[in-house]
Amino acid sequence: MEIIQLSWFQLAIGFIILIIPGAILWWYNTGLNKKMVVACIRMTLQLLFVGYYLEYLFEYDNTWLNLAWIMVMVIVADFATIDRSGLQTTRSLVFPIFGATFIGIILINLFFLEIVIQLPKFLEAQYAIPITGMVLGNCLRSNVIGINDFYYNLKENKERYQFYLASGATRQEALYPFFQQALQKSANPTLAAMATIGLVSLPGMMTGQILSGSSPMTAIQYQIMIMLAIFSGTILSVFLAILFCNRTVFYENDMLDDSIFKE
């Protein structure tokens, strides 16, 4: 099966459909039309840039270059995580979240790419880049939910945290209920997606593989693997991100540095 190649003209026709959501958003005075236009332009430009870059990456397929691209993806995810979590971009958050996301991604990549798929070449671009992108995108979403919930819950319920400290808890022990809730909240969307996958939605990776000529069974095998990678990667990165940040955002008396909050 050959994939039908899209011309730029055909793709441009696809944009016409935006008239419908645009009209609905305008009719209800949501104030989102400008955002919609900006988001569509950004999405198109970013993907065009990535498309050209990936063609270059795939052509050269150099392990160090692939690793450098993964680093760039993690750095962008790092800043986006902090910004969307409602926190300030401080050194006490940037470095720990970068470290957590990078370790999480590398561990998941090494396991799935090198042990499960057994790539003939280390970090081969055709596999490493798309799989990293999928796992990282989900890590970003989970990190935002988990980190936001952890620190804002702690801010709103600091009396509870202080009560545990005053009852003899170590910082880690006093933070346990906050950690528990942050993990529950960040894991729930992925667990819900896993529970309905195939029944309610056909995931993008599987659809893409089928469209490009893979057999549905091969596509499903990859999809199962990617779901396992996403779930493990998200939990690991949220856990490490909060764990690493907690080493830098508390004072010696175990009180949280309030300057990390935007509000």
């Binding site: 009396e159 509870r160 009560f163 545990y164 005053a166 009852s167 808890a169 022990e173 175990d254």
Partner: protein, 208 residues
């Protein structure tokens, strides 16, 4: 001297709460802190716990500055009853048992019989043990807090208005439990004449 404050100064923004304030508390004393509303009574307890840092001066615990490992050691010796206890959405049983999971916990987890006996003394219905803690009234939460302070059996108690939501009979029993053991050091805030009478010394912040 188990606790000593030396030349403490503390402000919230432009508002000065303490200026060159000194205090000392002996082991086994039952001190009640009195003072006007906003006069720094709760702040003093927060300074002792290290939740606030003084602008100047220091607090000593057994002669050592109350910071770092000394502060952590001090907290393991304490039980605290804040004015409004917020301990999440778990059941009352969960809330009571959680502090006994701490590595440094000096006492053993209580069994249900012990908890229910205390509940009876403090005027809490036995079925409240399975209720969600956040569904309890402020008064009921305070009683659970008192029960927890008693069960934790720590040598130092810091109590903020411990009898404000109790009836006469429960007050008597709470005071017997909290103040009845001689070796305990109790630092409390109270406006209740009954509680003040049972304490050994008044620390009046208006006169400092």
């Amino acid at each position: 001297m188990i606790l000593q404050g030396r030349n403490l100064s503390f402000s919230y923004g432009d508002e000065t709460i303490f200026r060159q304030f000194n205090f000392s508390i002996q082991e086994g004393e039952r001190v009640v802190i009195k003072g006007e509303s906003g006069g720094g009574k709760s702040t003093l307890l927060r300074l002792i716990f290290g939740f606030e840092t003084p602008d100047e001066g220091e607090i000593l615990y057994n002669g050592d500055p109350l910071e770092g490992p000394v502060l952590r050691e001090f907290r393991t010796q304490c039980a605290w009853l804040p004015q409004d206890l917020n301990l999440g959405r778990g059941t009352v049983a969960d809330v009571i048992r959680f502090p006994f999971t701490f590595k440094q916990s000096v006492s053993k987890p209580p069994d249900e019989e012990q908890i229910l006996k205390l509940f009876e003394d403090l005027g809490l219905a036995p079925e409240s043990i399975s209720k969600s803690f956040s569904d309890l009234s402020t008064g009921q939460r305070q009683r659970v807090g008192i029960a927890l302070c008693i069960l934790l059996d720590k040598p130092i108690l810091l109590l903020d208005e411990p009898t404000s939501a109790l009836d006469e009979e429960s007050k008597q029993k709470a005071a017997d439990h909290l103040l009845g053991t001689e070796h305990k050091t109790v630092i409390s805030i109270s406006h209740d004449p009954f509680w003040i009478d049972r304490c050994s010394r008044i620390m009046d912040l208006n006169q400092t």
